[in-house]
């Protein structure tokens, strides 16, 4: 029920983001989803890719600091109120969201929201109880 995400430390200077993309592209790693959190000094690039372990190894070999985290992918209908209903459920159950990002699935017409919770397993239980559709990792990697 969990999705593997890799995070990369990126110093705030020109060319670093491009370097990550170049390294991954060269080795044929496909990026499924990404988000960038930035501060004035540095950014944290979070990626979901088709092959997490390969991506992690080649980025490390290129000198990047990389970590692997488990996130949860939730599917909601791509329509007004879709996100709101999910957040309402989480709020009610007092589940804390560290960060999130979203994208729209190409074919199904649904939105996929990636959540990073501090208590991932508890969050999954809450979502399941409310019948919310959680996408398995393989589904996301293979998009």
């Amino acid at each position: 029920m969990k999705v593997q995400q890799i995070s990369i430390f990126i110093e705030n200077k020109s060319g670093r983001l491009a370097e990550v993309a170049r390294v991954l592209g060269e080795k044929g790693v496909n990026i499924r989803a990404l988000s960038l959190a930035d501060t004035s000094d540095f950014g944290i690039l979070r990626l979901i890719v088709d092959n997490t372990d390969v991506a992690k190894d080649i980025l490390k070999a290129s000198g990047f600091t990389v970590s692997k985290t488990e996130v949860v992918a939730v599917e909601v209908p791509d329509q007004p109120g879709g996100l709101s209903s999910i957040l309402g459920v989480l709020d009610e159950a007092k589940v804390n969201v560290e960060y999130m990002y979203a994208f729209v699935e190409r074919n199904a017409g649904n939105a996929v929201i990636i959540f990073r919770f501090d208590e991932t397993d508890d969050a999954i239980k809450v979502l399941q109880q409310k019948g919310i559709s959680i996408l398995p990792g393989d589904h996301i990697y293979g998009l």
């Binding site: 995400q5 995070s7 430390f9 110093e11 000094d41 540095f42 944290i44 600091t65 990389v66 970590s67």
Partner: protein, 433 residues
């Protein structure tokens, strides 16, 4: 083990009387042969034959690095060049290099002091000494080399640089003792890890590390990561080169300074007043056996204190506490004295933080600003911004608590701070001079 039992364990009174006699001889010799010293004594209204005891040392004026520059290249030599068998020079990064000359006897004495140092550090004739100090104008390489040969060890004259080759030789030749700067020993451990070599599993057991100030925390880190006993060695070319002082492996606490060759004093760097044993200040050294270029009351600019208590190793020569910086490394930021080593000790106290850092000082209007660049690594990195920001704030707070000044931490990517194969560059001061 002690290399020269007789001299290294000389009773204190015998050391003092030997020092007084040798001081007087040195003073008389330089007064007769070096115009600079003649002027110094005359200015002070004092003649070398008035030196009756060690107490009279304080009447001799200080000698400064600038005096060496003013007398560049040979002006302070007390022997004609045909008696000089070796010339070394400092790197001269802050001006003309300072030049030193050694007579045959100077080289013999230096070799003796380096031999004592190696043995104090636990080395012996059975060792393979991997000498990664630079060979050349710098005194480190040749100084260590002669001492290593004198104790009968097998010395590998590696010199600095070419780290992968250093590791290959270390592995293949079975090096047991490493001589280099402390920062370089860690750098070698890093390169080893990249090459898939476990440096801790090699035969290395002792590192004799010097030529830059370091901290106890860094010692712990080196001992852990390189898998060696890390021994601090002290020296400076103006006085001798490496081997002026060494920690003994028994105590690993303070560097024995060879008092049959040198007289150490600690002064207040601002007033020049002599400070009592145990108080921290600038180290001043007089050489009392040197022939080529004797130095009377040379201000080393190194900050330390004298440990007068007897040492468990049995040597009677007093110890200098680990150098905690140099008066010219000292930054004055918003009126506060800051030594890079203080920042280092803060960083090393924080779990997971690397000892690689650079201090960048700027002036914004009339205000000095300090930025400390610290490398992120796998241990400190997180996918959450707040975790990294809290790491920055923790470091900022610790520095503020210790030094009373605020600074800004900038987290940078791993291995982006330049690694030095010689002396680490820790400070970039962009303030207008």
């Amino acid at each position: 083990m002690i290399w020269n039992e007789e001299f290294e364990t000389l009773p204190r009174e015998a050391i003092a009387s030997l020092q007084a006699k040798r001081l007087q001889q040195t003073a008389e010799r330089v007064y007769a042969t070096v115009p600079f010293y003649q002027k110094q004594f005359d200015k002070a209204g004092f003649k070398p034959d008035q030196i009756k005891s060690l107490d009279d040392l304080k009447r001799i004026p200080f000698t400064l690095k600038q005096d060496m520059r003013d007398n560049y290249p040979y002006g302070l030599f007390a022997k004609p060049l045909d008696e000089i068998v070796r010339i070394h020079a400092s790197s001269g990064t802050t001006g003309k290099p300072t030049v030193v000359g050694y007579t045959r006897r100077d080289i013999d004495n230096w070799t003796e002091m380096m031999a004592r140092s190696f043995v104090a550090a636990g080395a012996s004739r059975g060792d393979i000494i991997h000498n990664a100090y630079g060979y050349g104008l710098f005194t480190g390489g040749l100084g260590a080399h002669y001492g290593a040969e004198a104790i009968g060890a097998s010395v590998i004259p590696m010199s600095g640089g070419n780290s992968k080759k250093q590791l290959m030789i270390m592995q293949d030749f079975g090096s047991t003792v490493l001589t280099c700067t402390p920062s370089y020993s860690l750098y070698l451990a890093e390169i080893a890890a990249e090459e898939g070599i476990d440096i801790r599993k090699l035969k290395l057991r002792v590192g004799i590390l010097g030529a830059e100030p370091w901290t106890e925390k860094l010692r712990d880190e080196i001992q852990e990561k390189v898998g060696i006993k890390a021994i601090d060695i002290y020296g400076l070319s103006e006085i001798l080169g490496p081997g002026v002082g060494i920690e003994c492996i028994e105590a690993q606490n303070g560097l024995h300074i060879w008092e049959d060759h040198f007289i150490p004093e600690i002064i207040d760097p601002n007033t020049g007043d002599i400070l009592p044993d145990g108080e921290q200040g600038e180290l001043v050294i007089s050489t009392i056996t040197k022939e080529g270029i004797p130095m009377l009351r040379y201000r080393t600019r190194d900050i330390t204190r004298i440990i007068a208590e007897p040492c468990i190793c049995g040597r009677t020569h007093r110890r200098l506490a680990r150098m905690c910086g140099r008066t010219d490394d000292m930054l004055i930021i918003r009126g506060v004295n800051v030594f890079p080593s203080q920042i280092e000790s803060v960083l090393m106290d924080i779990e997971g933080v690397e000892p690689h850092y650079v201090l960048i000082v700027n002036r914004d209007g009339n205000l000095d600003t300090l930025e400390v660049q610290v490398e992120v690594n796998e241990q400190t990195f997180s996918d959450e911004v707040k975790v990294l920001q809290s790491l920055s704030r923790t470091i900022e707070k610790e520095i503020k608590d210790l030094l009373g000044i605020s600074c800004r931490i900038r987290l940078v990517e791993p291995k982006t701070i330049a690694r030095s194969e010689g002396k680490a560059q820790r400070v970039i001061d962009n303030r207008p001079k």
